[in-house]
Amino acid sequence: MRAPRPKVAIAAVAVAALAVAGCAESDRGESGASQKDTLVFGVAGDPKVLDPSLASDGESLRVARQVFETLVRPEEGGTKITPGLAESWTPDSTGTVWTFKLRSGVKFHDGTDFNAEAVCVNFNRWYNSTGLMQSPDVTPYWQDVMGGFAKNERDDLPESLFKSCTAKDATTVDLAFTRVSSKVPAALMLPSFSIHSPKALEEYKASTIGGSADNVQYPSYAMEHPTGTGPFKFKSWDVANKTLTLERNEDYSGTEKAKLKTLIFKTISDENARKQALRSGDIQGYDLVGPADVEPLKGEGFNMLTRPAFNILYLAINQKGNPKLADLRVRQAIAYALNRQALVDSKLPPGAKVATQFMPDTVEGWNSSVTTYDYNVEKAKQLLAEAGATNLTLKFHYPTEVTRPYMPNPKDIFELLSTDLQAVGIKVQGIPLKWSPDYLNATTSGRAHDLHFLGWTGDYGDAYNFIGTMFDRQKDEWGFNNPTLFNQFKQADTTADSAARFELYKQLNAEVMKFLPGVPISHSPPAIVFGKDVTGVKASPLTDERFATAEFKS
C-alpha cells in the first residue's frame, strides 16, 4: 500500500475519461440517426435580433430569410426580382404608386391569414415609428431605403419615400411613394421588409422598445416570437449554447415545404474553428469560408458553393487628407502603381476579378468602357513627378480583427498594396486599427486618413445601392465635394424608366472612374460550404441562401 492516493486518483480520472468517451460514442450513434433531417450550420456571429425590421447584420437577416417572406424576392441564386408574397406588381403612370397582387391562402405561423391588411399593418408600423424606433441602429434599412418616417424626430432625417399603403381588396395592395425612386421595388426584396403577422406584432408589442439611454431593450417579439410566413418556424434561441433552432413549417403555403425537419444555426466566430467543426462533424456546413480553405475542402469532397461576386473592395483616397491627393495626377499615379492582378491572383479566392469600377458587372449599369488604370510603375512615377509629388508620405489605414466577404485578409492586402506604393516612391505609414470601432471611426469620419480600403456588399440588384451609397453626397470617407456628380446621381435615382436609368448609371460609372475618388480593386466571390452529403442549396450573390431546399443525399 504505497502512496495509495495517486493511484486512486489516476484510476478515477481514467475511468471518468472512458465513461465520458463512452456515452460520447453512444451519443454519436443516436444523433447520427436523427441527423438526416437536421442540419447544423455554422455561422460567424450570433444574430442580433429576430425581427428583420430592426436588423442590419447578416446573421439576423440569414435567420429572417428562412422564417419570413417579402413581397418580392430575388431569383434563387441571382439578383433579379421575382414574385414573393406578391404574384405581380405594376407601377402607375407616374411611377409613384405600385400595385401588388398578393398570393392567396397564405397563413402566418400563428395561423392568422396573410392579406392586404397585413401588408399595410406592416408598412404603417414602420412608417409610423417613433422614439427609439427612429434610431438609425434600430431601423437601419428602412432609413436607408425610405429615408424618414411619418413624423421625423431627427432633423438629419429626409422626407420619407414611403407615403401610404391602401388595401384595395384581400389580395390587392397599393403602395404609394412620395417620388419616383430606383429603389422601388428592388429594395422591397430586403429581408427588412418582411411581412409579419399583425396579431403577433400586436401581442408581443413589436414596436415598443423599452428603456432609455444605456438601458435600451428590444420587445419580446424581436427576441422570442418572430412570426412570418416562411418555410421554417422559429423554435428556440439558446444563447447559453450559441445555437438558434428553427423547425419546419408543416403547413407552409409556398411552392414546397422545407425538406429539413430542423435547421440549427450554431455560432462559431473563429474561422479555423468553423472549419475544424465541419471536419469533425459538429456541423454540416458553414459560411465565410477562408479563401485558403476553399480548394482543400473541395478536395476533401465537401460541397463547396461559390457565390457570384456581388461586392467591391476599393482603395479610398481622402482628398481632404494630404493636399496632394486633391491632384488628379497623384490619384492616377496611385491607381497605376497598384498591381491589382497580382493581389487578386495571390490573395483572393478562385473566381475573384480585378474591378474596373465601383460595382460588379452582374448589375445593370455596369460600363464596359470606363477608363482603366493597368499596373504601370513607370507611368505612376512619371505622373508623380509631374504633380511634384515625389517623396510623398501617406497615412494608410487598414483594419485588423475582421474578415469581410470582399476582403478575406485585410492585413495581407495592406502589405501587398503598400509594397506596390513604395515601389513607385510613395512612402507609406501603415496605421492598423481594430475594425470595430476604431477603424470605421477613423475612416468614415474625420480627416486623419489619406488612404484606406473598405468595401461594400450589395443589398439588392441596383447600381444605386453601390455607387449611389458611395458618391451621391459629400462624405468624410472621400473628402471631396463635387456637386455636379451629386446632381447626376439625384437625376438617375429619380428616373422612372429603368432603361434610361441604366444608361445614366453607365455614364456615372465612367464619370467616377475619370474623377477617380478612389481605386476599385476587386470583386471576390465569397464561398459557403456544406457537408459531403448535403445538397439542394443554391449560393446567392445576396447571401439569400434558402435552406428550405437543403436535404441530405445518402
Binding site: P291, A292, S346, T419, P432
Partner: protein
Amino acid sequence: MTITERARKKAEKLDRLGELSAARDEERGVSLWQEAFRRLRRNPAAIVGTVVLGLFVLVSIVGPMLVPYGPTDTIGIREGLVKSGQGIIPGSSADHWLGFDHQGRDEFSRLIVGARQTLLVGVVSTLIGLAIGALIGGVAGAAAGLGGRWGRWLDTGLMRIVDMLLALPSLLLAVSIAALLGASLTTVMIAVGVVSVPVFARLLRGSMIAQSNSDYVLAATSLGVRRSKIALSHVLPNSLAPVIVQATLTLATAIIEAAALSFLGLGNPDSAVPEWGVMLADAQPYLGIRPALAIYPAVAIIITALGFTLLGEAMREALDPKLRK
C-alpha cells in the same frame, strides 16, 4: 478590499518566495553568487538552457546578416508561386528551405530575422515590468524595512495599488491597454510588461524586508549608518537574487503572452519586421493548407521559452538557501 483579497494570497506567496531566497544566514565565506555559479555549472538543466539561449541570442544578432532573402520580400507572389488565396503555398524547396509564407516571403529568412524582434519584445517588456516593479517594490521594501511609521504607511499604500494590478486577469488588462493605445509594437511591450509589474514589486519588497530584518542591517543601524545608505548599499544588493531569477522566468512568459496578444489581433501589426508571435497568429488562416507555417514559429517560441524557464529554474535552485547545504 474586494479584488485585493485575491491578490493578497498571491502577494503573500511572492513575499514568502522573496524571503526564502533572501534569507541566508549561513554560507558566509564563499559569496552567494560564486556559490550559485558553482551549483549552476553542475546543473545540466542550466547548461541546456544556457546553450539554447546562447544560440537564440546569437541568431538574433548575426541572423539578419546571413539570411538568404529579405524578410519582407514577397518574392513568391512576384514569381506567381504563391496563391494563398487559392490555397497554394509551396513548401520546402532547395532554395527556400522552409518554403514560403502566405505572403510569398521566404519562411526561413523570416524565422531567423524574427528571433531578434522576439528577443526584443521579451527583453523590453520584461525590463519595463522589472523597472516599474523594482521601483515600487524597492521603495515599498525600503520604507517597510527601515522606514518606521511613515514607511509602513507608504508601503501599505503602494502595495494596495500593486494588489489591484495583481487582481486583474492579465490578458484582459493587456487587451484594454491595447485598446487604449492601439495595436503597435510598443503597445505589446507595455501591455506584457505591465502585467509582470506586481510580481516584481512583490518579490523585491518581500526579500528586502527579509534582508532588513537580518542581523547585519541591525548592526549597521546600531553603528549609526544612515537608513537610506543601508537600504541602497546593503539591503538592495542582497535582495536582488529572487528578482533576477524571476526576470529570467518572466522572459519566457513575456514571449508567450506576446504571442497570445498577436493571436487576439493585438500583436505588432507592422509586418516589415517579422516576430514569431505575429507569424504564428498570421498562420492561423492557413492551418488548413500549410500547418507548418504555424508550427515553425510555435516550436521556435516553445524552445526559446523553455530555454529561459530552464535557466530560471536552475538559478532559483542555485540561489535557494534551503538547498545550499
